[in-house]
């Protein structure tokens, strides 16, 4: 087991900069998500770490050892592919045995290790099956068993749950997390699913256009996004744009919004504020304002979407549509067309440099 250190890695394909000076430290035993839209470079980064492709510049170290020019077969990594990539001509057990077998391990050792790996992914009895006789979730488990049976230094997962349906995906998320904890392997997984990244990982790296936008624990990125992109890509956010006032911004119409967290900006600089929809209180305006929620805006409900445990209100304010999510507490619901007041605290507001 080992940590992975990516330092100033760049990779271009023709004129396209797929990775632009990316540095991330993946600590030993951690579970990392690389999150980003398609074309953000997350898969390219994973392929550099795996060794399928080499960076134009920069360094990659696994367990302190420089590997940026070492081909994949010598890096001792385990990889799970998006479409599982199980060998169709082999049984489940032979698939799992492959990595040990190409190393020339003894037959008895292989048999024991394969059985242990299959037991770990709860497929102990299916060793004799062929991949095409398995369900999607089972194939996923075989791919995982095959990747970890060789005791790799790092486990790489490329959109591992992308091909599964929603219910199965949640099961596999829990399962994957359990197995990762059990063997304590450094795990890096690529996803475009923000929920998956939030629920599974210890740290998230958000990529965009080949650059690392922000990196940190899920809570930190969610609560303190450093860019509009990070705020809107990981979760939903209402973005207000204006001029920095020192502890917040002033909107073009003169309204001040106070922020309790985020960047320190010189007064007058272009800036924005991000507020999560669930942090905003919505009321008809007749209630007394409470001191904590000093940010106040008036608007009109244009649409309400009822989702059982919560409702989403779309509120129009001077041409901007704001989103507010309200838990279903049994309180009176607001109607479409109603004039409302939105209130939230400065602590729920993050100041972002434009």
């Amino acid at each position: 087991m080992a940590g992975v250190k990516v330092s100033n890695v760049s990779r271009s394909f023709g004129a396209h900069k797929a990775l632009d000076d990316v540095s991330i430290d993946f600590a030993d035993g951690g579970f990392y998500a690389l999150l980003g839209p398609s074309g953000s470079g997350k898969t390219t980064l994973l392929r550099q770490i795996a060794g399928f492709d080499f960076p134009d510049s920069g360094r990659i170290a696994i367990g302190g050892e420089s590997v940026e020019r070492v081909p994949v077969e010598k890096r001792q990594i385990g990889m799970v592919f998006q479409n599982y990539a199980l060998f169709p001509n082999m049984s489940v057990a032979d698939n799992v045995a492959f990595g040990l077998s190409v190393r020339g391990e003894a037959k008895a050792t292989i048999a024991t290790e394969v059985q242990r790996a299959l037991d770990l992914v709860q497929l102990g009895k299916l060793g004799g099956r062929r991949p095409h006789q398995l369900s999607g979730g089972q194939r996923q488990r075989v791919a995982l068993a095959r990747a970890i049976v060789t005791k790799p230094r790092v486990l790489l997962l490329d959109e591992p749950l992308g091909a599964l349906d929603k219910a199965l995906r949640v099961d596999m998320q829990i399962e994957l997390k359990r197995i990762q904890r059990e063997i304590g392997i450094t795990t890096i997984f690529v996803t475009h699913d923000q929920e998956e990244a939030l629920t599974m990982s210890d740290r998230i790296g958000i990529l965009r256009d080949g650059r690392l936008v922000q990196e940190g624990p899920p809570e930190e990125i969610y609560d303190r996004p450093q860019s509009e992109f990070a705020a809107t890509f990981l979760g939903d956010a209402n973005i207000f744009r204006g001029d920095a006032t020192g502890n917040g911004i002033r909107l073009p119409d003169g309204t001040a919004i106070a922020a309790g967290a985020g960047a320190t900006l010189t007064v007058g600089a272009k800036a924005s504020c991000a507020v999560r929809p669930e942090r905003i209180q919505i009321s008809t305006g007749t209630e007394k304002p409470d001191a904590g929620n000093s940010n106040t805006l008036k608007g009109q409900v244009s649409k309400r979407i009822f989702a059982g445990n919560n409702s989403t209100y779309f509120v129009e304010r001077q041409g901007q549509t704001l989103k507010v999510i309200v838990q279903n507490t049994g309180a009176e619901r607001l109607a479409e067309g109603e004039d409302v007041v939105l209130r939230w605290s400065p602590e729920s507001t993050v100041l972002i440099a434009a």
């Binding site: 795996a50 399928f52 081909p71 994949v72 077969e73 010598k74 001792q76 990594i77 385990g78 990889m79 592919f81 998006q82 479409n83 990539a85 199980l86 060998f87 169709p88 001509n89 492959f98 990595g99 190409v102 190393r103 095959r146 990747a147 060789t150 790489l156």
Partner: protein
């Protein structure tokens, strides 16, 4: 309802006529190889005399062995070279790859008469001349594009992630090819090999140009025998060839079907 029935009947008739058109001459020839009369006279009287005398015809036997030998060697060489070439074309990007791929098809379309003439001139020019070795070279050249086309078609269905997965598990290039890629393309390789065998074993035109008396193949020998005077031995040897060729083609069809299933 009535129209459907008529159409169905017409369909059956069409298929029946088609099969008759394809197989009737062959069946008649096969039957005549067991008929006593050498002049296709009826009534039919059963005999295996022609097969027995075929066994005595040293020239025909020698030519048959030549044909088999050349067909087998052609199959081996063109299958190995063709499969390797297909893998290279699949895996690597290099200058002139598109041109090379495009150049693989015309030899299939160029009339064998022309290819044969060209080979004859060329082999004489470089000192190989005519004979079994020249025939072998010619057959390999003819069969190679077929193998590459068939194996490449099979490779189109291969998932490149499989090779990547194998490499990520520590397999070197040889192990990747041997354990993952080859098993996948094997039906294509076998089908390509059967094609190569058929191209060589059935080859007349190119063999005719490149053979010398005594160093010849079965189709050329049959042609020479017919020109001298027809004997039912030809029917007998043809029947044997047809049975072998059909078995081969049925095998090919089977492997092609496998190609579509997996």
């Amino acid at each position: 309802m009535a129209t459907t029935r008529i159409l169905e009947g017409l369909g059956r008739l069409y298929v029946g006529l088609l099969l008759a058109f394809l197989y009737l001459p062959i069946i008649i020839m096969a039957l005549m190889s067991f008929n006593v009369s050498p002049f296709y006279q009826l009534p039919f009287e059963w005999t295996t005399e022609w097969y027995a005398s075929l066994w005595q015809n040293d020239q025909l036997i020698a030519a048959t062995w030549n044909s088999l030998e050349i067909a087998i060697i052609t199959t081996i060489i063109s299958t190995v070279l063709g499969a390797a070439a297909s893998l290279a074309l699949y895996r690597y990007e290099f200058r002139g790859k598109k041109v090379l791929q495009a150049l693989l098809f015309p030899p299939i379309a160029i009339p064998w008469l022309i290819t044969g003439t060209a080979m004859l001139i060329f082999f004489f020019g470089i000192g190989i001349g005519r004979g079994l070795f020249a025939i072998l070279l010619g057959h390999v050249a003819l069969a190679l594009p077929y193998v590459i086309v068939v194996v490449s078609a099979r490779l189109q269905t291969f998932a490149p992630e499989l090779e990547e997965a194998a490499r990520s598990l520590g397999a070197n290039q040889w192990q990747v090819t041997n354990r993952v890629t080859l098993p996948w393309i094997m039906p294509g390789v076998i089908a390509g090999g059967l094609f190569a065998f058929a191209v060589s074993f059935d080859q007349f035109v190119v063999s005719y140009f490149l053979s010398t008396p005594g160093q010849t193949t079965l189709p050329v020998e049959i042609y020479a025998a017919i020109r001298k005077g027809f004997t039912p031995e030809i029917n007998a040897v043809s029947t044997i060839i047809i049975v072998v060729s059909m078995a081969l083609m049925l095998l090919t069809a089977r492997f092609f079907k496998f190609g579509g299933e997996k």
